[in-house]
Amino acid sequence: MDKIVDWFSIFWQESAEGTGTYAYTLLLGLQLTLEISVIAAVVAFVMGSIVGVCRTLPSPLVRRLSGAYVEFFRNIPLLVQLFLWYFVLPELLPRDIGMWLKQVPHSNFYTAAFGLGLFTSSRVAVQLSAAITSMPRGQKMAATALGLTTRQSYTNVLLPMAYRIVFPPLTSELLNLIKNSSVALTIGVAELTQSARNMDSYTFQTFQAFTAATLIYLVLNITITAVMRRIEHGVAVPGMLVAK
């Protein structure tokens, strides 16, 4: 018993950074991880929905543009994308804008959040357009035949079902997004993984530091899985099959 207390005691020590205990450092890291993930998830959902719908529209131009968007964000490693936005983009922009961009407070945080969001949006777009395409062609026809416009057909008929179809894959995209948020540390965001690294480098308690981070990620993702499953069952359509 004493040994266990001893084992945990490191978390209650003042951190070398002087900002509180190491437990507090980890919690700050968790907070940043959550903030990045929430922003990224919103960006991924909104952009993924728009681009996903565009991929199913009749216009060849719109299809080609949305296709290019997907290929760009899907085929470049997330890490490279973050470096592109953070290091390369300011150099490519006109000098004044580039300078301004570099001085935006927390620019590394926002770069990580939006970069992760855009990366994930390409994956959401692919899932959503696949779901829309998988629906019977007659659904769109029936909506059109009733006089609904393309926009009304999407918002009232196609998307409500398409979102239900993509719900399980979207859940795993959300879990991936949270795990991927750790790449933010490469541009200096002290999110959860970085906090564990900091704690490790100050205390050399590698085992404790990364066990704590592991457990926090686990609890977070298991909670999200449970919540998403509840929502999935809540929005299930009566009379249609749902996976248990």
């Binding site: 659904q139 026809m141 035949a145 416009t149 009232n156 079902m161 239900r164 009379g239 249609m240």
Partner: protein
């Protein structure tokens, strides 16, 4: 089938005005090599019931989908109540809302209740208020004998029930004409008659109808004319009696003998 003889629709051909649906030389190609419709011309007067039949792949579905511009076509003209379907200036959503369409696979919206299926387009397209749309929906559900199903979802209904809901959904828009694309082909045999009964009643009330079907009993009972299609062309377009009495084309004779021997 109780009445095997032709019983022309009472309301048909009374008005001598412009036809509700008029097709003039409609041709359509899916690819430059593949012509699916070949100079199809016909018209449907107010209150008339026209049955379209023909072998599978002959272009029946494509033809009636051209009427409400679900399918574009490259040559010819179609008018619905004098409005040109293939005119770029035509407000297509408005035109489509005036033509009811019933599909082989019902195509009810699975995430909406039966009530919501009947009110969605009334509210979004016709801008009816909730009370008015609900009242209309309830009246039509009663008419197709499904009043008690209003709060259910399509997936909880039988095929026959779903198709009756689909007919009610189309009628809720107060259409000037109804298009049916093989409305009973996806149904179990025991459910065919409940849908045909609704359609017969509709025909007798004077609804203008264009019906793709192989139900020759239905054709005999209520159709004023029968159109026979083959390879994208309208081969016969004759009064019902004439079609069943002595179809002129060999293809139609062959088709009829196959259909009727089943």
């Amino acid at each position: 089938m109780t009445t095997a003889t032709t019983t022309p629709n009472s309301a048909a051909k009374q008005s001598s005005g412009a036809p509700v649906i008029q097709m003039i030389g409609v041709s359509k190609w899916y690819t430059p090599e593949f012509q699916v419709l070949d100079a199809c011309s016909t018209s449907v007067q107010k209150g008339e019931v026209v049955v379209v039949c023909g072998p599978s792949g002959s272009g029946k579905s494509t033809l009636i989908k051209c009427v409400n511009a679900l399918e574009p076509f490259q040559q010819g003209d179609i008018f619905v109540e004098g409005v040109q379907v293939n005119d770029r200036a035509t407000n297509l959503p408005k035109l489509r809302s005036r033509i009811g369409m019933v599909f082989q696979n019902f195509e009810l919206f699975p995430h909406l209740t039966i009530m919501e299926n009947l009110t969605l387009a009334q509210r979004k397209v016709l801008k009816r208020g909730k009370d008015e749309a609900d009242a209309k929906a309830r009246k039509l559900l009663q008419r197709v004998g499904l009043s008690d199903q209003a709060p259910k979802y399509p997936g909880q209904l039988s095929g026959g029930q779903q198709q009756r809901v689909a007919i009610a959904r189309a009628l809720a828009m107060d259409p000037v004409a109804m298009l049916f694309d093989e409305p009973t082909s996806a149904l179990d045999p025991e459910m065919v008659s409940e849908v045909l009964d609704v359609m017969v009643e509709l025909a007798r009330e004077g609804m203008t109808m264009m019906v793709v079907t192989h139900e020759m009993g239905f054709a005999r009972k209520v159709a004023n004319r029968v159109i026979f299609m083959d390879k994208g062309a309208i081969v016969e377009d004759v009064p019902t009696e004439e079609f069943f009495g002595s179809p002129r084309s060999e293809r139609a004779q062959l088709f009829l003998s196959k259909i009727l021997s089943h």
